[in-house]
């Protein structure tokens, strides 16, 4: 789960990382008021959960409150990578001498946290790593020892930060690690961490991505989720413990298992169709869950056919069949359905579905081809 810049910076500030004064506005008038508070000159920044807002024109420096209002109005009218901008952060403007990158993330291969830093801040670190790998310093952290002061010094020395900034940098890095660890983040990033005109270090932008698996430990953070930023169907799916990602295609998919769900999308594409969604009903799916999943799939008006691909392990095919029948009772639909049931209790499942008018298939390839055909005929 991604947090907005303003949310991330709040969490940073709570742990002592210096940030600029600023507030969030949902309207141009609010932005103007905040700019007045800040003394006129302000930076207006779109709050959307995608990267690249700078290039898209979502960040503008206003010289006074009047201009702040104008820019806020412009930005609040934008769509960035398909996402409408609903909020802007109005921040003090800072004089920037140096832009540093400082981030902490999980290193999957090393199986531990890694601190990543570079003096080439302000741009995407992946790009710096690709173009000038020598400019990027990595320090692995033992998850039991946690981040030690000497490791921060390794980082500071590695990026060539002048001694005079080590103390402030050390405090910020320690607080960033604390934020990362306390929130069960998979990424906590300050980019850029700037040295301003007064030679102080400030977190100008911030990004936190939380581990969805750990949200149960952090109800306060779970509440920070911005429901405006995701499809309503995704919000609905989460309520039922379903993994759902909306896509742009025509064939709705209900699959058990994440890998098989991806493979189902891929095979639809392979046979010339377009998947409308990723949906994993999970292991041991109950009929209620299956019914909810079907409602969610059908709530997408682009869906012209639905492909059920269930391979029973924990999930039992008869349970799934009952869920499908239940959902069809509740949500009458004309959309054609292709069903493939294999595995635990597959015979019972097939029997239950025998009466409903559904297209059946045994192989995955067969099922995908039938679904593609059904969607085209629709």
């Amino acid at each position: 789960m991604k947090l907005h810049e303003y949310q991330s910076k709040q969490l940073f500030a709570q742990r002592g990382i210096p940030i600029l004064k600023g507030k969030v506005a949902s309207t141009a008038a609010e932005a103007r008021d905040i700019a007045v508070e800040l003394g006129g000159r302000a930076v207006i920044k779109a709050q959307v959960l995608v990267g690249g807002r700078g290039k898209a024109g979502g960040v503008k420096v206003a010289k006074d409150a009047q201009q702040a209002e104008e820019y806020a109005a412009q930005i609040l009218a934008m769509n960035i990578k398909g996402l409408p901008v609903r909020k802007v952060l109005v921040d003090q403007a800072a004089e920037i001498k140096t832009e540093i990158y400082l981030g902490i993330t999980n290193d999957r291969a090393a199986k531990c946290p890694v601190v990543i830093a570079s003096m080439a801040g302000g741009v995407e670190i992946e790009q710096v790593a690709k173009e000038s790998p020598e400019k990027v310093i990595r320090e692995h952290v033992n998850p039991f020892l946690r981040l030690r002061d000497y490791q921060v010094r390794n980082v500071a020395a590695g990026i060539g930060l002048p001694h005079e900034h080590w103390k402030a940098f050390g405090e910020i890095a320690a607080a960033l690690y604390q934020t990362y660890w306390d929130t069960d983040a998979t990424l906590a990033e300050i980019n850029p961490l700037v040295i301003n005109g007064a030679n102080q270090l400030l977190a100008l932008d911030g990004k936190i991505v939380l581990d969805d698996n750990a949200l149960f430990e952090h109800p306060d953070l779970a509440e920070m989720r911005d429901l405006d930023e995701e499809a309503a169907a995704e919000t609905e799916a989460r309520k039922y413990g379903l993994s759902y990602v909306k896509l742009d295609g025509e064939i709705g998919c209900m699959v058990n298992g994440a890998g098989l769900a991806m493979a189902t999308m891929d095979i639809i594409s392979h046979f010339g169709g377009t998947p409308a969604n990723f949906l994993d009903v999970g292991g041991g799916a109950s009929s209620e869950k299956v019914a909810a999943a079907l409602r969610i799939i059908l709530s997408d008006k682009n869906v012209k056919a639905v492909l059920f691909n269930i391979f029973g392990g924990i999930t039992r095919c008869d349970e799934v069949a009952r869920g499908i029948l239940k959902a069809l009772d509740e949500v009458p639909t004309g959309v054609p359905m292709v069903v493939r049931l294999v595995g635990t209790n597959e015979a019972e499942g097939r029997k239950l579905l025998a009466e409903a008018k559904m297209i059946t298939a045994t192989s995955l390839a067969d099922a995908a081809q039938k679904a593609v055909a059904a969607a085209k005929n629709k």
């Binding site: 999957r108 531990c112 946290p113 430990e217 994440a258 890998g259 098989l260 639809i268 392990g313």
Partner: protein, 287 residues
């Protein structure tokens, strides 16, 4: 021969008195797996699975009393890390964790500690292990598999079943099926299991099922090129997955331009691994 589990494996089920724990322990017994102990704190002295399996309060007492040498974990996510620590402290050399949703920071500590103890881990968020006709340790449906010479290693559970099913339909049996799980920080990885299959005399061909996220498949490709003599066929799920979105598995996400399916396919093809476009092509590519 086979790898990791066989007819002599003595399994202790942690969380045996839970709904899923009981269901799958019963299925494992029916398959012929030696389920020698169950573990549920506070239920020591009871019997599970219709009186077939003694339940203990602690892993230590279960291992001491039954000689269990494999721990299978079905406890809820918030207790999973401690279940793994406990099994390792009790001296269990192989731990299989089915539980989904374990926080990744927990897993970083678990892996670190288990490595210190020398315990092997499979999972979490995995379907476990199956050596056909010998031992089913986890939730892979036993009836779809047949003994044979194809080793399977996969990040995805149901895709594992899909491949086993397709192989069995084509008359190709399996040596051992290993579901390593879909989490970003986990136990054994492709390389570890590939090395075991290379050493296993029963295995003569290998199927490897990867997916988007991370670069374990790229590393496996390198390892295959350098160390494997047995033919490998692969499949990578998630060609059509959009970037920045977690596709079910905690580890299945394309981030910052890395973890792409296309990069993995390319790396594998460079290592002369045949890559299937969908699972049912695999038997044909193996033949």
């Amino acid at each position: 021969m086979s790898i990791l589990v066989n007819k002599d494996t003595r399994v202790m089920v942690q969380g045996i008195t839970g709904r899923e724990g009981t269901f799958h322990a019963t299925q494992m017994l029916a398959y012929g797996t030696k389920v020698v102990a169950g573990m549920t704190p506070g239920k020591g002295g009871e019997w599970a699975c219709e009186g077939k399996v003694p339940v203990f309060d602690t892993c230590k007492s279960a291992v001491d009393s039954t000689g269990a040498n494999c721990a299978l974990i079905y406890v809820p996510a918030r207790f999973a890390a401690d279940a793994m620590f406990e099994a390792a402290d009790a001296g269990v050399p192989l731990i299989v964790c089915i539980t989904e949703g374990v926080p990744v920071q927990d897993m970083m500590r678990v892996r670190n500690y288990l490595d210190q103890k020398g315990a092997k881990l499979i999972g979490p968020n995995c379907p476990g292990l199956l050596t056909p006709d010998e031992a089913k340790v986890g939730i892979i449906p036993g009836y779809i598999a047949r003994p044979g010479s194809v080793g399977i290693v996969a990040r995805s559970g149901t895709l594992t079943y899909e491949v086993i099913y397709a192989l069995t339909q084509s008359g190709m049996g399996q040596s051992t099926c290993v579901g390593i799980g879909g989490d970003p920080v986990k136990g054994l990885n492709f390389i570890d299991v590939l090395a075991m299959f290379e050493e296993d005399p029963q295995t003569d061909r290998i199927v490897m099922i990867g997916e988007i996220g991370g670069n374990d498949e790229e590393k496996a490709a390198e390892f295959i090129a350098d160390h494997l003599t047995k033919p490998v066929v692969a499949f990578i799920a998630g060609q059509t997955a959009p970037p920045g979105k977690r596709m079910g598995h905690a580890g299945a996400i394309v981030e910052g331009g890395s973890g792409l399916a296309s990069d993995k396919v390319k790396a594998l093809e460079q290592a002369r691994v045949k890559v299937a476009q969908y699972p049912e092509q695999i038997p044909g590519l193996l033949a």
